[in-house]
Symmetry: C2
Subunit: 210 residues, 2 copies
């Protein structure tokens, strides 16, 4: 069966976003430092339609992450949009051609028709829970794997349910001192460390869960 993988960038103290998020700092105070490493890579820039960027270990990691992924799952905060009247208009943070190029299953409480974007990405809105979302994502992925893209709450739900096969963390060299923690409320989870790759900007550690 295809695997449920999760990859996410965290600060050394385990936050996916810093304290006091605002319109000016949506990732919280100093939260962008978590992503310093990725936005500099050629692979990330290419995936998001920008020129340039740096080659090297980090860029290869980003390239590898999308290989073999046949569907994504993400929480409603990661997709964005609020429960207000504009909810039905919101088309995600990624413009007309999101960098997924496969079906994306968004966990939400608000039913909505699938949203077909350019370049192969279709957002499906799943209202009947994380297991249903995983089942649909696996079906869409076929032999390929499913990537749990975030945010923290969605990752916690899947970890608590024992459904995550692989946890791939990118540990950024910064202590944020507050914000949204990734691994809160998930209880005891034994891991097997299967790969460590590093650049001067970040440490990538891949774990097998359970």
């Amino acid at each position: 069966m295809s695997q449920l993988k999760c990859q996410i960038s965290v600060s050394l103290d385990g936050y996916v976003a810093g304290p006091n998020p605002s319109l000016e700092e949506p990732l919280g105070r100093n939260g962008e430092r978590i992503h310093d490493w990725v936005v500099r890579t050629r692979a990330w820039r290419e995936q998001h339609g920008y020129e340039g960027g740096e080659d090297g270990a980090d860029s290869e990691i980003v390239d590898d992450m999308v290989r073999g992924i046949g569907a994504y799952i993400m929480g409603r905060n990661m997709f964005g949009g609020g429960p207000g009247p504009w909810d039905g208009e919101w088309r995600g943070w990624w413009g007309d051609e999101p960098p997924f190029h496969v079906p994306v299953f968004v966990l939400t409480h608000h039913p909505r028709e699938p949203l077909e974007m350019q370049g192969g990405t279709t957002f499906h809105f799943v209202t009947d829970g994380i297991e249903a979302a995983l089942e649909r994502a696996r079906e869409a992925a076929g032999d390929a794997d499913v990537m749990l893209a975030g945010g923290a709450e969605a990752v916690q739900q899947y970890l608590r349910a024992g459904l995550v096969d692989e946890l791939f963390l990118h540990i950024a060299p910064v202590v944020l001192g507050g914000g949204r923690r990734l691994l809160d409320g998930v209880g005891y989870v034994p891991l097997e460390q299967v790969e460590v790759v590093s650049s001067p900007r970040v440490t990538h550690v891949r774990y097998r869960v359970g």
Copy 2:
């Protein structure tokens, strides 16, 4: 000037000990998994008077950690002993010949005469604060460095005061889900990642602080 280094083992979710410590599990539930990697090394076993153990990257890390260290600082919980009547009798967790072999400055509120052990370790009890302890440790260390050995509270105090030069974490492959967190209450601390070494059992990351 000699550097203040700090090295400590943590779980992936940042705990130095698990939840619900007891006499049977002094490091809390599953807390011993944080130290699985180190107790298997030849270097740690040799330092603590045991035979055997494994050579390799982890053992070399343990060997390297004590090189160039001229004095240690530790918090009162790490030294052990309580505020009760037996406080004055307590001689630490390490037997008659502790593995330090240099002066060790213990942060405490209880004045006590220095305690000279076998093999070069003398415990000095410092009651006038972390800066005084650092000053005395630096004086004792001469050109060598000072190692802040733990526990979490002592590390937090020195980090908050901006006195730590190097943070060397050994990140164990386990999520404990509760316990005593290392990097709580220290605010924003930018780091520079200077070295990553890994074995299948642990990821060692060395950071320059500030």
